[in-house]
Amino acid sequence: MNNAIETHDLAYRAGKHFEIAGLGLTVREGSMYGFLGPNGSGKTTTIRLLLGMLRPRRGTISMLGRSVPRDMPEILGETGYVPERPHLYPYLTVSEATRLHAAFYRSFDAAYAADLQRRFGLRADHRISHLSKGEVGKLHVLLALAQRPRLLILDEPTDGLDPVVRRDVLAALVDFCSQGTTTVFISSHLVHELERICDWIGILDEGNLVAELPMAEFKNGIKRLRVVRAPAVVTGAPFVVLSREPSDGEQTWVVRGWEPRMAEWLSTANAELREVVDLDLEEGFVELLRVSRVPAA
């Protein structure tokens, strides 16, 4: 199985304070990969690097088996891009913008575009400058999907949109994905949306990829443990201890890669496991970030 996106040691710097250092992303073909990270962590910059809009200081990028930036036109011909900020010409109408876009993509499906236009409730003769924010967002998604791309890159596609628009956009996205084996790379800080539709997750923080693993593994594997008589030093644990905090004579551990049978290990260490608390994606994400910024005790 090929990787739709692959980067090795990707580095970029802008100004004194923003840096992406040695990023190694792997997005499997056909997966729905959620790119999660707080604001300012470098998600949009990474996407711009992937699309050849920025030049990295070092490192390699491969998209759909081709090299960036050498094969950029071929790659872009099969990539649908929904930007963070709208970038269509505001003086065009919906249908004019659609026709312009269609002229550049061989695989553009005009019938599908018309269908999406109807589903999204967009009027063909409305000027883009007169559309609401939600309608502009929908138009961008429409154009990207109507290309019938092999790879979809969405940069915060539902940010700032009201819940109804968000549902419509996600439903159309999922519908499109069920029709084939498109790879979806979606960056967002709206954790709960990613939680529903993504099967892989990559977490970016301050330019570093802190975690990259299947969604189910991440969700199931992060737990909060209440441990009594915890050993002073934890060595050889079958799970990864992300953090330990004392509270009221016991310790609260946040661990990764937990499985229920690991409770045995704790008893061999003479500790007692009082409680295992499931963390949802948002809590797990917060814990992981908190921990990756400060070394664990």
């Binding site: 729905m32 159309a172 999922v174 994905c177 709960h192 939680e195 529903r196 994606l281």
Partner: protein
């Protein structure tokens, strides 16, 4: 299939999404909302309706198929199985236990007590029998 059946799919719940979906379908079959031989929505339709990864729906359907609750027919879709009467009782009892186990786990996650559950069960059963 009524949208109400799938309301409250909760990605935050410890129960995996595919299991929640499979549960809802089982409940629908048990209550008669889905008759034997009835067609389940297509993977594409349901995934889009619920806004979940299509693979999740596929997994739910596969689980139900393995449990012989539904069967998939080439090119036609997935349908509720018609079970022979003798099997029905054993299947029903297994289903009931499975449902209760999941229900208890979800209830615990939501902070719902046994008493709350008991009460709710009585109310719902009464509503159904009228």
């Amino acid at each position: 299939m009524a949208g109400a059946v799938f309301r409250h799919i909760d990605p935050r719940s410890p129960v995996p999404l595919y299991a929640q979906i499979a549960d809802r379908i089982r409940i629908a079959i048990a209550t008669g909302d889905l008759a034997p031989g009835a067609a389940l929505p297509s993977v594409r339709q349901l995934a889009s309706q619920l806004r979940v990864n299509p693979a999740t729906v596929v997994q739910a359907y596969r689980e139900l198929e393995e449990a012989a609750v539904v069967e998939s027919r080439q090119g036609a879709g997935t349908f509720v199985r018609e079970l022979a009467p003798p099997k029905r009782e054993a299947e029903r009892q297994r289903e009931a236990r499975r449902l209760v186990r999941r229900l208890l786990k979800e209830a615990a996650a939501l902070g719902v007590t046994r008493e709350d559950l008991d009460q709710a069960l009585k109310v719902e059963m009464k509503a159904r029998s009228t």
